[in-house]
Amino acid sequence: MGFDRLTKGFSGLRVLKEGLTGNKGWTPHWRDPAPKPEYDIIIIGGGGHGLATAHYLASQHGITNVAVLEKGYLGGGNVGRNTTIVRANYMLPGNSEFYSHSLKLWEGLEEDLNYNVMHSQRGIINLFHSDGQRDAYARRGNQMIAQGDDAILLDRAGVQKELPYLDFDQTRFPIYGGLYHKRGGTARHDAVAWGFARSADSRGVDLIQQCEVTGIDIENGAVRGVQTTRGAIRAKKIGIVVAGRSSQVAAMAGMRLPIESHILQAFVTEGLKPCIDHVVTYGSGHFYISQSDKGGLVFGGDLDMYSSYASRGNLPTAEHVVEAAMTLMPMIGKARMLRSWGGIMDMSPDGSPVIDRTHIDGLYVNCGWCYGGFKATPGSGHTFAHLLATDAPHPVAARHRLDRFRTGRGILDEEATGSQHNLH
């Protein structure tokens, strides 16, 4: 780390210096450039995945003549509207190695970005409630260890030691134990977007906000550029990274995607003293919870399970989530719920994402993150940047093909419910 990085980037010395001089030396984290007429690569979507893609294009591939086009403000989409959980506890070939790769990127992210994304490896405990579920979790834990990640199978006493506040006497779904993934945890979602944005900008990428793409120009089966609310911009390669709006943007290129948009709600209570140290998931009740660094209990459950672009949920799902919360964790009834929100999810038929080229030359899609896009942020950006730069899929994302639904080859059936829209 050179002297320049100490004085211009973030460091203890810098914080001390600014603290002593009235914090007058801090500057905006990124420029506000006007769009240039042409770029090598245009990324549509300035959310977590789009900004991560720009960062890795610049830092890993030296491609900096790049624009990120965002119709609203950076990080104002799903990355600013999720429950911040980071984990790599998969057991599905394809997704397993992808999230393992992503978690390793998380572990070096703050150093890579010189930015505090508040990545907190507080550990995730997935509770199980039957013998069969214990066997399944034991198998999952073994798979996680086999792929180089971590897992500990806790028995009931082990869970009781870590999570004494759960209702262990409940008769409907008694707690048999839990699968403890210590390297899992949370990160501060806004800071993740800002850290990637600052890094991409400092390497020369143009982050262009308030710039909505209104058309994609295609000639002879190849992209030429985009039409936007700030004029036409040419590019040979265009990446669509607009979770929740993927179908709408793809339609501008005449494409239909294997996506239905659904709402996933989340909830947060008033700020409390630290009481929940881990991320906890309820294996029988579809409920998950962690405590934010501000003290609010952040939790959620299942999708609303019907198509929606409303960015808000309906009460039956809220009721279901709160019932599960009260069954598992009666103390939560003392907390006042401050707010709830809904994010628009790109639900794919098999519950897994797509990172692939399309049949149009120079057009690439990164979509279908369903309910789990946050933990993928670095991995998604890293592998999508690789695809955009080299035209070859990154080895850990090689199975995230767009044609898997047509061919049936390599379906990544996330919940083992079948590859059908209403099941995910």
Binding site: L257, P258, S307, S308, A310, P316, P349, F405, R406, Q420
Partner: protein, 87 residues
């Protein structure tokens, strides 16, 4: 959200099972090619606004319905029995 079942009247969303866009009613011919089948099974228009959907009134009369619902406002503008839906 409440859905107007043509047989039972307006009922709570929780009485219904959701099957997705009503494209299921446009089943291709058995000898249709792979692209048509992919289109039917997996690909969707998925644009915000009015959408024809299949809902089953599971906890009511058990009928399958085509419900026209706005995916932005959740406002329902129509519901008819699948058996009566001219498609």
């Amino acid at each position: 959200m409440r859905l107007p079942c043509p047989i039972c009247g307006e009922r709570d969303r929780r009485e219904f099972y959701y099957q997705g866009a009503a494209v299921a009613l446009n089943r291709p011919a058995p000898d249709a090619d792979a692209a048509e089948w992919e289109d039917y099974v997996h690909l969707r228009d998925n644009q915000p606004g009015d959408l024809d959907e299949l809902w089953s009134h599971d906890a009511g009369c058990g009928a399958w319905l085509v419900v026209t619902r706005n995916t932005v406002t959740h406002a329902v503008s129509g519901a008819k029995l699948v058996s009566e839906a001219a498609r």
